[in-house]
């Protein structure tokens, strides 16, 4: 009768290897303890480094966005404008015109990346992102109904998109519900609902008169063009508020990835946590859609690209958010400058980039 092999101990979790660095999780880890052990954290060094690098890239893209345009500015000029030391026209261009757009690109990108990470984690499927399972399509339906029926301005369309997205999410969740929600059901039901809503959208656009249809199509492409503080300020505040509960939800999300039985056994109220995650995820997508129209593929691509960089298990929220911000900020720069002075909707750029990414993802998944 062979006893289990008791291996010698080459490395062990949390054993310092000098300099406060700890090995033993198979990757460099840093443990922070303070206040006599009342506060403690385990940090993954590579994940932190990736997040910091992405944040820097995002910041750099933001600065580039502030300097470029029909009225080129230098970096010192931009910085002066930001601290309020610039004269009238420069200040107007930087603070009133370019800053809201650049900020919105970063914030909405982060919101979409986070939302994508949430849904990909819940469904345990890289295809489980909110744009694939119908929420963006539903938000578009809501916006279309407002544009065609009420004809209403920005706030009305945003509200329509919000309602449409949330109702679609509720419908998908309920249709996929059977003694709890399983990831794969959510993906399949979501794709079906998305396809149906897409044809509804097409029908709505086709039956509208030309001018309204054009307006709807422009909104439907997803654009940050002409973004002002009226959009950027509330969207940023809301995004921050929505991200707060994630500090509590993030470790629970990691446990849900072990399967419902294991998570329950570890003391997690799985359905409650999942519902909370769905609510936050839908709200983040709805926020982005309401502010800028449906911007596809950021939510799909950001979490997976971030995962490739961090090499961490499962999808993580923070890297996905940082990657989303970088993707959308970069896409918006391309949308602004690629065919300048003609402005492309940023949604067109993300769809083009995302299409390539989706093909790669499908090929890779099919090979498994």
């Amino acid at each position: 009768m062979s006893a289990p092999v008791r291996d010698p101990v080459p490395t062990s979790p949390g054993v310092p290897d000098g300099g406060g660095r700890r090995r033993g999780f198979g990757r460099p880890t840093r443990v922070v303890r303070a206040l006599g052990g009342r506060v403690s954290l385990r940090l993954d060094v590579r994940t932190l480094a990736v997040c910091a690098a992405l944040a820097l890239v995002g910041l750099a893209l933001g600065v580039v966005a502030l300097t470029t345009g029909d009225y080129p500015l230098s970096v010192p000029q931009v910085l002066d404008a930001l601290v309020g030391a610039a004269d009238g026209p420069v200040r107007l261009v930087v603070v009133e015109w370019r800053l809201p757009r650049a900020l919105l690109a970063l914030v909405l990108g982060a919101a979409l990346g986070t939302s994508g990470a949430i849904f990909q984690s819940i469904t345990r499927n890289p295809l489980g992102s909110p744009d694939v399972i119908g929420f963006s399509t539903g938000a578009y339906t809501g916006a279309l109904v407002v544009i065609l029926v009420v004809g209403g301005g920005y706030a009305g369309v945003a509200a329509g998109a919000l309602v449409g997205g949330v109702l679609t999410a509720a419908a998908v969740y309920l249709l996929a519900y059977r003694r709890g929600v399983q990831g794969f059901r959510l993906v399949v039901v979501g794709i079906a609902v998305s396809a149906m809503l897409a044809s509804v959208n097409q029908w709505l656009v086709v039956t509208a008169d030309l001018e309204t249809a054009m307006a709807a199509a422009v909104w439907g492409a997803g654009s940050l063009h002409g973004a002002t503080w009226a959009q950027a300020a509330p969207a940023s505040v809301l995004a921050v508020l929505l991200v707060l509960p994630l500090a509590w939800l993030a470790p629970r999300m990691g446990l849900l990835e072990l399967g419902d039985d294991a998570a329950t056994a570890l003391g997690l109220r799985t359905e409650r946590v999942r519902l909370a995650l769905v609510v936050v995820g839908v709200a983040l997508t709805a926020l982005a859609t309401a502010a800028a129209g449906p911007i596809a593929f950021v939510a799909l691509a950001a979490p997976q690209l971030a995962r490739r960089l961090t090499g961490a298990p499962g999808v993580r929220l923070l890297p996905a958010a940082a990657m989303g911000a970088v993707l959308l900020a970069a896409s918006d720069l391309v949308a602004q400058r690629a065919f300048a002075p003609t402005q492309l909707p940023v949604g067109v750029v993300t769809v083009s980039l995302g299409g390539v990414y989706l093909v790669w993802l499908l090929v890779r998944e099919a090979r498994k």
Binding site: D7, P13, R33
Partner: protein
């Protein structure tokens, strides 16, 4: 030397105090099932403290359902599961998870997770928003890795492990939870014979040396006879027999529960009952 079992109803347990002693974990008159399909009706089960209890029975007899009910994965439609004198559904989920651990039949290791990281997730019931990685967490994970002989695997990816190693890692995760009671749902399925024995001996060590109360659902009756200190035999959602394997396992019981004519001989190694099926012996 199996400890004397305190099986059955409190009535026939040895009365040492004025009140009959209740075990930490028991189910009182539970009716369990899925949706409208009732699997077991009015079950009374008590898990003797300090025992290695094994639940056996034919496929679909309700043994896994009973374990799911005991681990509060499944809420009984009638009756209640009692942990430490309180209905388990009235105890906060995290608090239950500090007393009772479960190795489910199927768990998913996230892609790219290392062994130590997976085992560390077993510490969740002991962690708070501010205290996410205490010295106790570290010690518990080290202890769990050592107890399951997986210390050397700590840095490896779970995806790369063999089935036997992976199952030991999952056991380590449940051990890191540091619960006095451990429930294991068919822990030996998908393992080859050597790894089955290895895992069962690990269970015996946990029970005997570390004082864990263990409850496992097993398919193999001979494994159950050899390793259990307390056996619960089920058939059609009811309990047919319970007690020390040496006392309850008879040819008549096996024929009744499994419909298998057999002989019982003493295990040449341990002396515990060994079930030898009659079958239709073919000779060359």
């Amino acid at each position: 030397m199996p400890p004397s079992s305190l099986a059955g109803t409190p009535a026939d347990a040895p009365v040492t105090d004025a009140a009959p002693r209740a075990d930490r974990l028991h189910a009182d008159g539970i009716t369990v099932g899925y949706d409208d399909r009732v699997i077991a009706r009015g079950l009374d089960v008590s898990i003797p403290d300090g025992s290695f209890t094994v639940i056996v029975g034919p496929n679909a007899c309700g043994k896994s359902t009973l374990l799911r009910a005991l681990s509060r994965l499944l809420k009984p439609s009638r009756g209640q599961v009692v942990l430490d004198g309180r209905s388990i559904s009235s105890i906060p989920a995290k608090e239950v998870a500090r007393r009772l651990g479960l190795l489910p039949q199927s768990s998913i290791a996230p892609e790219g997770i290392t062994v130590a990281d997976l085992v560390a997730r077993g510490r969740y019931p002991h962690q708070t928003l501010l205290r996410q990685w205490s010295r106790e967490d570290e010690a518990a994970v080290l202890g769990a890795l050592a107890a399951t002989g997986t210390t050397g695997l700590a840095d490896r990816l779970v995806d790369e492990l063999s089935g036997g190693q992976r199952q030991r890692v999952w056991v380590a995760m449940v051990l890191a939870q540091e619960t006095p009671i451990l429930l294991l749902d068919e822990p030996t399925t998908f393992l080859d014979i050597a790894h089955q024995i290895e895992l069962l001996e690990l269970c015996t060590d946990l029970n005997r040396d570390r004082g864990h109360t263990l409850v496992a659902v097993l398919h193999d009756l001979n494994h159950a006879c050899r390793y259990a200190t307390h056996l619960i035999a089920m058939k059609d959602g009811a309990i047919v027999a319970e007690g020390a394997p040496g006392d309850v396992v008879t040819a008549a019981l096996v024929e009744d529960v499994f419909g298998l004519p057999c002989r019982i001989i003493p295990d040449p190694v341990t002396g515990t009952p060994l079930v030898v099926p009659e079958g239709r012996p073919r000779r060359a």
